[in-house]
């Protein structure tokens, strides 16, 4: 039986929520515009202001120079930011994944060097995972690093690297020894300076002209031994161990929340027919459920558990919710949308045409379903 135990936010957590809410109200008052969560363009200045409040790298332990706060506290901050349509992309990868990686697998030097800078909003990371021929089959990466004096020579190409155009480092999954039979063996993670010689970044523009994604080429890039993350050959294990963190967060289902909230404000004073009421009631119910599941995963992480299946279910359900919410908003809007329109209409138009990319982040749902099946099967066998 999967468990999504409910525990309400504590008084301290609620106080934190109010602080973030106030902060975002102030940001809005200062002219920050509403965007579609992790799909909005990066805003480094904003990310630094968030960092200045102590809200980047929140779960980094105190002994590593972090605030040492809980996964739930981080959940509270992230959900408030997304609800307000904050542009969190710049610090997002470092906050969500890289910091955890350094804490768990990084050398003392990495921890000393990078963790305080993440917390300060002084360094941005991106992830070099997918390749032209790999897609969901991550283990088939061809980018390879060969041994050289004092380090590695990196060659290959990554695609769909979000934020490479402004980041400082790309955490690159690559092959450090040949795949003999089992392709999950012999992979490693390298911390590659995007300004190093031999690195080139070129944009992959989305259908609406947006530039989140990039190709990153490595042409004999020298990576010193000190920049291997974790152990040589442990890349696969390191990457997959982070998936519960990556998949269950509110970023998985909150892209359209700001649009929903705006639409809702308009409806409050409108003459709303019965079917719209019913449909909004359903959205409320689904959202309450998802949020409860996501929050309970954060609680489980704080208890030291790794609820991977639960996280995969939340990701899957969350992306469904986003697609349905967009469809519903489109129906509520009641007609043709102009992608160039200001305010709600333009935002909704962006959501409609970029929605297909929402399901693709963090592993396609098809692959996740196999993960869930295997885990359910294993649990069942163990309990039998």
């Amino acid at each position: 039986m999967m468990r999504f135990a409910a525990e309400p936010l504590t008084h301290d957590e609620l106080r934190l929520r109010d602080e973030v809410r106030e902060f975002m109200a102030q940001e809005r008052a200062n002219g920050l515009s509403v965007g579609l969560g992790i799909n909005a363009a990066a805003d480094m200045e904003f990310s630094r202001r968030v960092a200045a409040r102590g809200w980047v790298g929140m779960t980094i332990p105190k002994e590593h120079g972090g605030p040492g706060r809980t996964a739930v506290e981080r959940f509270v901050v992230v959900e408030e930011m997304l609800a307000a349509g904050a542009p969190i992309s710049a610090h997002w990868v470092g906050d969500r994944q890289t910091a955890q990686m350094f804490v768990r697998f990084g050398s003392e030097e990495h921890q000393r060097e990078f963790l305080p800078r993440i917390v300060a909003g002084d360094v941005w990371f991106c992830l070099g995972m997918s390749e032209p021929d790999s897609g969901s089959d991550l283990a088939s990466v061809r980018t390879r690093a060969t041994r050289t004096e004092g380090g590695w020579l990196l060659n290959g190409q990554k695609v769909w690297t979000s934020g490479a155009q402004y980041s400082d480092y790309v955490i690159t999954l690559c092959r450090t020894s040949p795949a003999e039979g089992r392709k999950h063996i012999g992979l490693s993670q390298l911390i590659v300076d995007l300004r190093a010689e031999g690195v080139s970044v070129s944009p992959i523009r989305l259908l609406n002209g947006f530039h989140h994604f990039n190709e990153v080429h490595f042409d004999n890039v020298f990576v010193p031994d000190s920049m291997v993350l974790g152990n040589v050959g442990d890349g696969w294990h390191q990457v997959t161990s982070e998936l519960a963190h990556e998949r269950s967060g509110p970023d998985r289902f909150m892209s359209v929340m700001p649009v929903l909230a705006l639409m809702f404000e308009q409806l409050k004073t409108a003459d709303v027919p019965a079917d719209v009421r019913t449909s909004l009631g359903r959205t409320f119910a689904t959202y309450m459920t998802l949020r409860s599941m996501s929050l309970s995963i954060a609680r489980a992480l704080d208890r030291g558990e790794t609820p991977a299946v639960e996280a995969a279910l939340v990701k899957d359900l969350g992306t469904q919710f986003e697609q349905e919410a967009i469809e519903q908003l489109r129906t509520l809007a009641g007609g043709e949308l102009d992608p160039g329109a200001p305010g709600l209409e333009g935002l909704l138009a962006d959501a409609v045409i970029t929605a297909p990319t929402f399901t693709l982040r963090g592993g396609t749902n098809e692959v996740l379903r196999t993960v869930v099946w295997k885990s359910l099967r294993r649990t069942r066998k163990e309990s039998a």
Binding site: F4, R277, G281, R282, R291, M293, L317
Partner: protein, 360 residues
Amino acid sequence: MSELAQELFSALDDIVGARAARDGHGAVATWDPELWAALNEQGYASIDPAEPEVGLAEFCAVATAVGAQALGLPLVEAGLAAWMAASAGIKLPGGLAVPAVSTGEVLTVVDRDDDGLVVDGALRRVPWGRHAEVVLAFARHGDGTTSLVALEPQRMTEGSNFAGEPRDTVHVERQRVDAGQVSTDSALGPREARARGALLRAAAAAGAMDSVVDLVVEYAGQRHQFGQPIGSFQAIQQHVVTVAQAAAATRAAVEATFMAAPEHRVMTAAAAKVTLGIQAGRHARSAHQVFGAIGATEEHRLHLLTRRLWSWQDEYGTQHEWAHYLGDRLIFPEAPGLWEVLTPPHPAVAAREVGESVPW
């Protein structure tokens, strides 16, 4: 879940599970007087809602165990009736009392004096009505207000739900109800009682869904086609995940109500029932797809669970009804923002603000 809730669930699950192992799942799925007596003795039919450690979670735990075992006995109904009576200040006589609030229909008060009321009307879909000694129903006065009344059923037409659980029509013909069996508290109305019934149905359904998940995962791992376990096919995996996801979502929706502030409980219970309505169909359909025709045969356990899901999703208000209610509570000119409603204040704080008189 509290420790008490966990204990209630486990003990009930064990007792009924043992009986099912002895007599078969089909046997515990229909009224079994012997088992009813045993559970009564264990106190499952008379949990006291006034006990300080007994709350929503504990009643839901019992409902979940009932659903998980597809137990055909009115434990959930007895619990709902006990809570309604306690909230309304009615002292119930002994014997099985069941609530008659599923459809939302109410009786009419045709006469009143100091000694009580005379009520009239028909109460449809009364769960386990034929086994009940007392039926709890609402009766509407001429001024539109309602009172809760406890009455002995006189005449009945038998009916059932998809799972064969009794859903009877109680015909009330100018029946007298003594003042002691009439509530004076107006905080508990049909809405609150039905919302709690809806939540308990969602909790029971979450239990049934968990059992379906077990069945489906086991079958998909054992059954072979085209030389492999069918669970290795993506199409089947997708069904299995749908089954598991629907179960998890329903349970999460139920548990979300436990952390709601008192003034949000009807809304969150409504949301739990809507979630059940969204999930029950996909869950049951995918489960039956995994099993193929075998799951729809008389002797299979699957349909003992799925037939309950099909009925339970509509009892105590359909998805549509509760979704419309939520829509009304969300959209009106003075409504708070959507996000404020979705992220409510702390239950304890909110309880202080609304005082102690809220029914739950």
